[in-house]
């Protein structure tokens, strides 16, 4: 296969050389002048770019809208300005020019990977969200900014607003069972960029490549779509300063219905009364939490050298005690053009230093807070914390006070792009980037802590761990555009090399004489000398992988009416078997702007009507490293000549044919706008099929050693519809109302889970927790969808309050009398429909955003009800389900559809009121003050804390016993530019 790639490279290279040979010329002309005005307000527009078509000659309009320049006799002038439709006028006819405000985003630049396109030239399913449309308020993760903004892009926060948690992201549902399930993130061209390096005020736009015909340019990482994030860059002009700040507070959105001490004693019995009345849940909350954020940016420079630099500081505090993250850092962008405009350089440097307190905010602590006997005192007579003796009990407040766990993290990235434009429209560029991620963890459990006393003979426990990851990227591209009358061709080709490594070590020790050192003198722990103490341990590991690709793209358009795009990426990943390292990922797509056809000119309804269709093949290489190698694994020490020596044996069945999953996707889309662009939208329908699904399939034992084989067998199908509707219902001089709706429907099916050799029996996910070990909640079978709850069917209670469950034959039986054969599909945890509705009202200087978001068509398995809502949970405390719907129940937890609830919800997710001050001063360019609330209200029938759960994984829809409190966030912010 090396031969093939070389051939491809040579072909590519030869065509580039040929193109270098062609060139252009043009001649001088005469003086032209005029004035540009706004079609709606009839006022002059300053700053409009006036350019002689196909040249770099041009000017911009003055404050009164006037312009003058020299242009050739037969030249065409192009008038363009952000927010207005461009207009082309013959130079000899130029005079008073009227520009119409553009349909939102029609002329916008769309980032498509190794290049950009104009929105109206796009032939694939690409969504763009610009800074002005971001969700307002404090974002814990950059992905929060676009939550609900893109149809088909799911952003969920399984851990609520915990500042030390990340969002889970998915485009168009699950495409894999064992490979990556999250989209590829590309930040300013760096594939696999680190989201920690992005601050909300530094981001200019998100572009989401949803379908295969768009994502194919990223080959083996395209299956889950691609999110391209572009940061703000330096630009020529007056030096600008911008300062943004906000203050934010979290407040609990819904309290769990923990029984009061009195109610608890009614159920658990007076003999469990320990005399006190403690609300442990409240004690774990930091009700006075406050987060603040500051970002200061400066930009400026000339047309040939410009820059943007920003620094930020953020102190983020969650609703839980000891649950904070302090971070600071900066981002610098420098652009320079030289060699008579032929060579340009772009440099980006970004850094993030953060310190996270990971001690608090753990789901397990809140689980303890719910189940702790509310009459148990916190402290004994000596002021020592009291530990209750129940199974799996610990005092969460004591744990917080007696332990510490922090992470110090440094993330850096630097990239440099050199672009040479030896002749017009031929760009040759080389791009290099290094992204590094380092962290140091430290942990100490003091001598009096429960862990220390239980497991370390009272000698404390210290741990230190370190991680270093580095991604090195080199890419070179050649990009050439040629216009021949109405035909425009663009061809791009390139090479990409990415090498990633990560390494870790960690160590721990115990047996400390004093707490004074914490983890800063780890060798002082006596466990390294005393074999009677638990053994201290140490670990280290390093892994690497390489991705190499050759890629090309051809775009053609005729009169911006017919467009065609073809992509091919030839890519190899070190992770796959020797027989299958390289693969090809082609895509083709086309667009037809129907509204530009002559027959449409009489039909005045459509301002824009465009049909798109695309088909693309992408891959997924997101599997662990070294899966294809025949490796030996350890199996514990055994006696060998009087010494205890580690044993080794084969730890997997070898698979030299291991290859990437391949997804084939067909996407058909329609973009439209009517009524002077007041109403517009897009409709996309897709059908995707992931072949060669990677999974640990059942293998035959004997004769194989291990009962699973990691190989490519199954087929997974996804299909869906996405609808976007952008409207301007009201547009008056002082008042406008913009209203945008997104909607999507998705479904999936495991088409096949077997081939001639590997026939996989059902796979199970979602382990139900101890006690009881009730098995797994979710089953995947061939022919069925992912995410199906599979369990017993509730048939009522008998007179003793025991479970009656349906047997396969329809009869009713006790929980001890049913078996695996009596289970059935009882629900699904993955939402079928998602929708959002965003409204922006502007009245004079005021603006108001009202944003709703919802998910529909799924069930939630309420484990809090199942365990905490059962009398048998006593002598632990319980939730008030025991007094209500479960009052009759007098049996141990059993998994049945009794605990499945409808999860559908609508959230008032963002409410922001802003005011833009119009100051008559030269010193302040803009000043905006706003107040925002997030997660303000939830409309749902779900009885648990929050119906929005993890819904991007194979075990979606399970509401665990442990949880992080869901909060409403209130923010007051200020943006000022001067």
């Amino acid at each position: 296969m090396h031969k093939r790639s070389t051939f491809w490279a040579q072909t590519c290279f030869a065509s580039m050389v040929l193109m270098l040979l062609s060139h252009f010329a043009f001649s001088q002309g005469k003086q032209v002048s005029g004035k540009v005005t706004d079609a709606e307000t009839k006022t002059p527009i300053p700053g409009v770019s006036v350019q002689v078509k196909n040249t770099s000659t041009g000017t911009i309009t003055k404050p009164d809208g006037s312009f003058s320049l020299t242009a050739p006799e037969n030249a065409v002038l192009v008038f363009s300005f952000i927010g207005f439709d461009s207009k082309e006028v013959p130079a000899n006819a130029a005079g008073n020019i009227v520009l119409k405000p553009s349909v939102k985003s029609l002329q916008d630049i769309v980032v498509i990977g190794y290049g950009t396109q104009k929105r109206n030239e796009v032939t694939t399913a690409v969504a763009t969200v610009k800074a002005e449309s971001f969700n307002q308020g404090g974002a814990r993760s950059p992905m929060d900014l676009v939550q609900g903004k893109v149809a088909g892009l799911v952003v969920t926060r399984p851990n609520g607003n915990n500042p030390n948690s990340s969002a889970s992201i998915q485009i168009r549902g699950l495409t894999s069972m064992d490979g990556d399930m999250q989209p590829l993130i590309v930040i300013d061209g760096i594939p696999g960029g680190n989201l920690d390096l992005l601050q909300q005020d530094d981001i200019a736009s998100f572009d989401v490549l949803k379908d295969g015909s768009a994502a194919a340019i990223y080959g083996t990482r395209g299956n889950n779509g691609v999110i391209l994030i572009t940061t703000k860059k330096g630009k020529a002009g007056e030096p600008e300063f911008n300062y943004s700040t906000y203050l934010q507070r979290e407040a609990v959105a819904k309290k769990p219905g923990i029984l009061s001490a009195a109610d608890y004693l009614k159920i658990a019995g007076e003999n469990n009364n320990q005399g006190a009345n403690v609300n442990m849940y409240d004690l774990l909350l930091d009700k006075n939490n406050l987060s603040h954020y500051h970002n200061f940016a400066a930009s400026g420079g000339t047309a040939t050298t410009n820059y943007r630099a920003s620094v930020y500081y953020n102190d983020a505090n969650g609703i839980a005690l000891q649950n904070g993250r302090q971070q600071y850092g900066g981002r610098i962008n420098i652009n320079q053009t030289g060699l008579q405009g032929k060579l340009s350089l772009q440099l980006n440097l970004a850094t993030n230093l953060n310190k996270a307190n990971m001690n608090g905010g753990r789901g397990g602590d809140f689980e303890q807070a719910v189940q702790r006997n509310p009459t148990a005192p916190l402290y004994d007579a000596n002021g020592k914390f009291i530990e209750t003796n129940g199974f799996n009990n610990y005092n969460p407040l004591a744990r917080l006070m007696q332990e510490q766990n922090t992470r110090d993290q440094k993330t850096n990235s630097g990239d440099l792009r050199l672009t040479l434009e030896p002749i017009k429209d031929l760009k040759i560029s080389a791009f290099g980037a290094i992204v590094s991620d380092d962290y140091n963890d430290r942990e100490y459990r003091s001598k009096i802590s429960r862990s220390s006393i239980q497991d370390y003979q009272g000698g404390g426990y210290a741990r230190k761990a370190n991680y270093t990851g580095k991604d090195r990227t080199f890419e070179s591209t050649v990009d050439y555009t040629k216009r021949v009358s109405d035909h425009t061709f663009n061809i791009m080709g390139g090479y990409s090399y990415q090498y990633s490594t990560w390494e870790t070590y960690d160590m721990n020790n115990n047996g400390f004489l004093t707490d004074a050192f914490e983890d800063w003198n780890i060798n002082a722990g006596n466990a390294i000398n005393d074999p009677k103490l638990p053994r201290p341990s140490m670990n280290s590991r390093k892994e690497d992988n390489t991705l190499i690709a050759f890629f090309g793209r051809i775009n053609y358009n005729y009169q911006q009416k017919y467009m065609l795009q073809a992509i091919l990426r030839h890519e190899g990943s070190s992770r796959f078997g020797v027989n299958n390292k390289w693969g090809n990922f082609p895509a083709i797509s086309a667009g037809w702007v129907i509204s530009k056809e002559a027959f449409m000119q009489d039909i005045n309804i459509f301002n824009n009507l465009k049909l798109r269709a695309g088909y693309g093949v992408t891959g997924n290489q997101g599997i662990p490293n070294y899966k294809a190698l025949i490796t030996m694994g350890t199996g514990g020490a055994y006696l060998q000549n009087g010494k205890w020596i580690q044993t080794y044996g084969p730890n997997k069945n070898p698979n030299p044919n291991l290859k990437w999953e391949t997804k084939k996707e067909l996407n058909i889309g329609l973009d439209w706008s009517i009524l002077n662009n007041r109403i517009g939208g897009a409709l996309d329908v897709y059908n995707r099929r992931t072949n060669d699904l990677l999974y640990a399939y059942s293998s035959q034992v004997p004769a194989n050693i291990v009962s699973t084989m990691y190989t490519n067998v199954g087929v997974l199908a996804n299909s869906g519809v996405e609808v976007v509707l952008n409207t301007v219902p009201v547009k008056l001089k002082d008042f406008t109302w913009n209203s945008d709706v997104t909607f999507n429907f998705q479904k999936n099916k495991v088409v096949s889970f077997s081939n001639e050799v590997y026939k996989t029996s059902p796979q199970y996910f979602g382990d139900l927790p101890s006690p009881g070990n009730l098995g797994q909640a979710i089953r995947v079978v061939e022919g069925g969808p992912l995410g199906s709850f599979y369990g017993y069917r509730f048939a009522g209670f008998n007179d003793a309050g025991q479970w009656l469950l349906y047997k396969k034959d329809g009869s009713k039986a006790l929980a001890s009398e049913v078996n695996e054969d009596d289970k059935a599909v009882i629900g699904t945890g993955i939402p079928k429909y998602m929708a959002s509705w965003s409204n922006t009202f502007r009245y004079k200087n005021w603006d108001l955003t009202v944003f709703f978001r919802g998910k529909f068509g799924f069930q939630i398995l309420n484990l809090q009800d199942m365990y905490f809502g059962n009398k048998k949970w006593a002598p632990n405390n319980m939730l008030d389900y025991v007094l209500g719907k479960n009052a009759k129940l007098n049996d141990n937890p059993a998994y049945s559809d009794y605990y499945l609830e409808k999860g559908d919800f609508v959230k008032l997710d963002n409410l922001t009121l802003g005011y833009n001050f119009q100051l008559k001063t030269k010193y302040i360019r803009n000043l905006r003050l706003y107040a925002a609330g997030r997660n303000i209200a939830t409309i749902t029938k779900y009885s648990g804390l929050d119906p929005e759960l993890q819904d991007t994984a194979l075990d979606s829809g399970i509401d665990s016993r442990g949880f992080y409190p869901r909060t409403r966030s209130y923010t007051i912010g200020l943006n000022i530019g001067f």
Binding site: Y648, V818, P875
Partner: protein, 544 residues
């Protein structure tokens, strides 16, 4: 302009396109097979892998393997549901009631674990057969002996698999054939017999250096088990062969861990103590040393209560799982030291080192008896709710049932803390097996030799004053009594199901919450997971 730019552009492109297309992985922290077997220690570390794996299925260490299904389906041990704990998908209830189906974890997990261990043996035999031992400083004699050991160990895996599943495929090469076919039990039996007999004489005799390994003594013990059960497994009795190999072991032909011949321990505790590595009773055992190897026989998970570490001043607790069935507990006389010393019953006291005051000397419960003294009772029923009677599999509480104490770890400051080896075959069993073979040969009537063999062992479980009334005679040692006595001696050792089947009781007897079942439950089903991918497997009768 043009020319220089073309050259510059070309150079630029070349920089990229000429670059590397190599996609090698460097496995920094893993070892690949090509880099292994470079010296004696590496060779041995692969040879010994199936031994540490047997920890998972042959011993009660928290996995659902041979040990668990052999004990929980029989009349001595059970894992009852105890309130909100221990339902575990109904697994243990189905084992107790003999209700397993082809789609059951009880059927799949032991199959998987045991064939996995067998696969390690196949891999070692394959890799070592093609290895030039002289290049790594070992001899051809080493090679012969190591391969013979691995083959006998493999045969032992098949012996135990055949015990559970009866008709199974026999595979001796990794991955070949792709879909191996089921062989009738008789053929499996013949394969095992031939494999062990062909290789036994190339093994080393048992010696203290070879503790935990398969030696002549272990191979002979496997043959004893095979021949003792031959009538049940093949229809043809082999009592004389059984006695022959018992005699070889007793005579010291297989070697010994102490002196020239193996010997019975003088008491009932030494063979299970944390110093039992060199017990003269040991014939084949899984060796552990927690202090030196950081690897232990972790029985705590299956047996211990959530607070049981406090009794011993140990460093682990348990999942409060397996307990002694009340009728099995009552099968011991009160004066039987095995009842007194191998089981826990009554109020539990903390180790003195853990008491902060006299009042603090009791271990407290965490569930039904939360913060109240933990008192193990023999009944398995809801005493806290006033229940009387026999109780049942779903009626347990946290203190239900007498508890396992046959193996004890010692205290954390003991230099041999938790260093216990798990006995797979010990000399006592050979005495019992020989006695049984003698009796069966004698029309199921005791002979004096049989009585002497049993009495020699049993005597250790009684004080001298009590022994006079407890010694068997040829009239008191009936077959039923022999089965009961085997139960008392080998309780917790993972042998009960096989014994009950051989005595014809497994599917016909009633005990505690268990009713007689059908003959088909003498075997486990062939797991559905394998049947669905291997067309050449045949389901056992009655499970189709």
């Amino acid at each position: 302009m043009k020319k220089s730019n073309i050259i510059l552009g070309a150079a630029f492109m070349a920089l990229g396109l000429g670059a590397c297309t190599k996609l090698d992985e460097k496995p920094y922290s893993e070892i690949t097979v090509d880099n292994f077997y470079r010296n004696r220690e590496e060779v041995m570390s692969a040879v010994l892998r199936p031994f540490t794996h047997a920890n998972a299925w042959a011993a009660p260490t928290g996995q659902l393997g041979y040990w668990r299904v052999s004990e929980l389906s029989a009349d001595q041990l059970a894992w009852p549901q105890k309130g909100r704990h221990g339902y575990d998908g109904g697994n243990w209830i189905r084992l107790h009631n003999h209700q397993w189906i082809a789609n059951d974890d009880n059927v799949w997990n032991p199959w998987n674990l045991m064939f996995w261990g067998m696969g390690f043996c196949n891999a070692t035999i394959r890799d070592l057969s093609s290895l030039d031992f002289t290049k790594i400083g070992m001899t051809e004699a080493d090679k012969t002996s190591i391969i013979a050991e691995t083959k006998v160990l493999r045969a032992w895996h098949y012996l135990k698999l055949m015990d559970l599943y009866g008709n199974i495929p026999v595979v001796t090469q990794v991955g070949v054939p792709e879909s191996p076919a089921t062989k009738p039990r008789k053929e499996v039996f013949e394969f095992i017999e031939k494999e062990i007999r062909d290789n036994a004489e190339q093994l080393q005799p048992l010696s203290p250096q070879l503790v935990g390994r398969v030696t002549k003594a272990g191979a002979y013990a496997m043959l004893v088990e095979l021949y003792l059960n031959a009538e049940e497994w093949t229809g043809t009795p082999r009592w004389d062969d059984c006695i022959t190999y018992c005699n070889k072991i007793i005579a010291g032909d297989g070697g010994s861990l102490a002196g020239s011949i193996p010997a019975l321990e003088p008491n009932i505790t030494n063979a299970f103590a944390n110093t039992n590595s060199n017990s003269p009773e040991g014939l084949f055992q899984i060796a552990y040393d927690f202090r030196s190897g950081n690897f232990r026989f972790g029985w705590n998970g299956d047996f211990w209560h959530y607070r049981q570490r406090q009794i011993y001043n140990a460093d682990r607790d348990g999942n409060n799982g397996i307990v002694v069935i009340p009728t099995a507990f009552d099968a011991f006389k009160d004066k039987d030291l095995r009842k007194q010393q191998w089981m826990l019953i009554g109020s539990m006291k903390k180790d003195p080192a853990l008491r902060t005051s006299e009042a603090d000397s009791l271990v407290l419960g965490t569930e039904e008896y939360s913060d109240k003294p933990l008192v193990f009772v023999k009944e398995i029923r809801r005493n806290s709710e006033g229940e009387t009677g026999e109780g049942g599999m779903t009626r347990g509480e946290e203190n239900s049932g007498a508890r396992f104490a046959k193996y004890l770890p010692g205290k954390t400051d003991d230099p041999n803390y938790w260093g216990n080896d798990f006995m797979l075959y010990r000399l006592t069993e050979i005495y019992y097996n020989k006695a049984e073979a003698l009796m069966r040969k004698n029309g199921k009537m005791a002979t004096q030799e049989a009585v002497d063999l049993i009495n020699t062992c049993k005597k250790r479980a009684f004080k001298a004053a009590d022994w006079t009334t407890e010694a068997y005679t040829t009239t008191t040692l009936t077959m039923d009594e022999l089965l009961a006595e085997r139960g008392r001696e080998f309780i917790f050792e993972g042998k009960r199901r096989e014994d009950m089947i051989r005595f014809g009781k497994f599917t016909t007897a009633t005990w505690w919450d268990h009713k007689p079942t059908a003959d088909k439950y003498k075997l486990f089903a062939i797991p559905f997971r394998q049947l669905s991918i291997n067309p050449n497997l045949k389901q056992n009768p009655g499970f189709e």
